[in-house]
Amino acid sequence: MYKYDEYDRQIIEGRAKQFQGQVQRRLSGEITENEFKPLRLQNGLYMQLHAYMLRIAVPYGLLSSKQIRKVAHISRTYDRGYAHLTTRQNFQYNWPKLSDVPKILQELATVEMHAVQTSGNCVRNVTADHFAGIARDEIEDPRPWAEIMRQWSTFNAEFAALPRKFKIAITGAPANDRAAIRFHDIGVEVVKNESGQTGLRVWVGGGLGRTPMIAKVIRDFVPQGEFLGYLDSILRVYNLFCRRDNKYKARIKILVDAVGIDEFRRLVDEDFKASFHDELVLPEAEIARVKNHFTPKPYETLPEAENQRTAFSLGQDRAFGNWVRNNTVTHKVPGYVAAVISVKTPGVPPGDLSDTQLDAIASLADKYSFGEAVATHTQNLVLPDVKISELPALYADLARLDLGFSNFGKVTDLITCPGLDYCALANARSIPLSLEISERFERIDYLNDLGDISIKISGCINACGHHHVGNIGILGIDKKGVEHYQLQLGGSPGNDASVGKVLGPALPQADVVNAIEKLLNHYLFTRESAEETFLEAVRRTGLEPFKQAVYSGKVAAE
């Protein structure tokens, strides 16, 4: 992974010191809360319902075991002993004190971590495919490009006060996008042209929130040298021309939609022509320097071991078998797999890890996966490079930590925002609902039978739980002070991008899990074969039969 050099260290340490000064000036009264707020936001510090919340950046989700131990240590020393995985591959702490945050940032700096720009109207964490570098369907590892974008966007002076937040995602496997690039402000694919040269395909104007939109391609092939200059131009057009009067209409998707992609492209090209000069060309040497930080691991030369993996999945030990079947993913190097640590244990808020678990995961990363792990935007962790022969030992270790659940990609692998239990923006609680769902559908045979299906829960229209792109999306709303939930069906974040459609009137909390059970049972009833997924069935039949399953014979909640 990328190792800081002296410049990077200076920048991050300078930043921690700068924030310390800002905190002092806030506590002394030299600056007001209104003046302090954008500053603390640019360091990832939010004020939530009953505490501050600090979001630390995990660039493209990649973590070293040393960093995981530091995350554990901080949770233990400055927080309440746990950390939360977010839907953008970051970690969050829910209970830091303001006066401790500069110390936390300094501690993070010692392991090359920071909280820069994880909030505020600036470019946020660049996220990437969580199987980057190891997936068989990958054209090229996107992580060096993610790192290049991270450096380009960090403390970018020109774009420090954008109309609104800006989110970028990248995939190196365009045929099978796992990074949801079509729902980001800028989405990037690493591609090759007919001559075999590598370039970047750039999409703009995707997003969720109040007005979900699918991004459009702005340029099919940006040569590597022009990439950062081209991003500059997109950001500049956005910075200059997007409206700033209404924060719900200030994302780039609004501008692209308002002027149309052709006009938007024209504006960007015009700016690019006027501004791109030799000094801005991204040199081969720099690309090579960054790529050098992502060289392949010292893999052993092993024979192909898929037979062994299959044998494990069918063996006597059913718990282990299910875990291998559901939670391990084919790796491009023979004899290896990626192992998914499901952070979706029944009874525990999705994405939460205790300090003990974090410390243990750091050791597992060291023991099994070259000291690295990857946070996914679906609130799980991946050990990317595990030898198939070591799977039994790894599984036993995970089971001891209560992290051996075999539900990766299944119905209880849901994602949820923190919701009204924590978040000042929420209209309804989301975590209790997620706990109820995982409890109801705990049976592994049922999970396997249902196959791949995603449930995504948001506690408000800001959609941090990505409910628009869940196969089943759930949106919490406030009806006269009482929490209700609206169901959506048919969303998907990948290549077959689609925004879910509302199923029917919102349901009170007591009815939601029953409604989901009806949906799932209807799916089992209606599917053409065991191979037809829930999403495919919804697309084939439309929503009406599913709506009937939930609402017929029941008085609507309206």
């Binding site: 007001t32 746990y82 029944p346 003990t356 609680r429 002070g481």
Partner: protein, 125 residues
């Protein structure tokens, strides 16, 4: 086995009425977050701030509460942030929040904050 609280908060607030007692009265209180640790703050009648909802000083109308809000906003920023006034119910059992959000602010998250096995026995404040 994990069980969740599915009570509608508004109904629970009204349940504080006992037969024979007069109806609960709407009052207003001022709340904010403490600047240092972000914890929920409630303004007492004497102008000091507490973490305990039940100790809130009450105002009869929203307008009565406004000067306290402005004062906190302009003069007390070192102590508290983002002050605002809310309506609450004053019933036989004392003050009760009127919305799910204010109930969670008063009494904390409704879910377990820690795994039982984490090995660290720090209880939430």
């Amino acid at each position: 086995m994990y069980s969740i609280n599915i009570i509608s908060f508004r109904h629970e607030a009204l349940a504080t009425i006992l037969p024979g007692m007069s109806k609960p009265v709407t009052q207003y209180i001022v709340t904010a977050n403490f600047t240092d640790d972000g914890a929920v703050a409630y303004r007492r009648a004497d102008g000091s701030w507490t973490r305990v909802f039940a100790e809130s000083g009450t105002f009869a109308t929203l307008d009565d509460a406004k000067p306290a809000v402005s004062h906190a906003d302009s003069k007390e920023q070192r102590l508290v942030c983002d002050p605002y006034a809310i309506d609450v119910e004053l019933g036989a059992q004392g003050l009760a929040p009127l919305t799910a959000r204010e109930r969670i602010r008063a009494y904390g998250p409704t879910i377990p904050m820690r795994r039982p096995d984490s090995g660290m026995n720090k209880t939430p404040a």
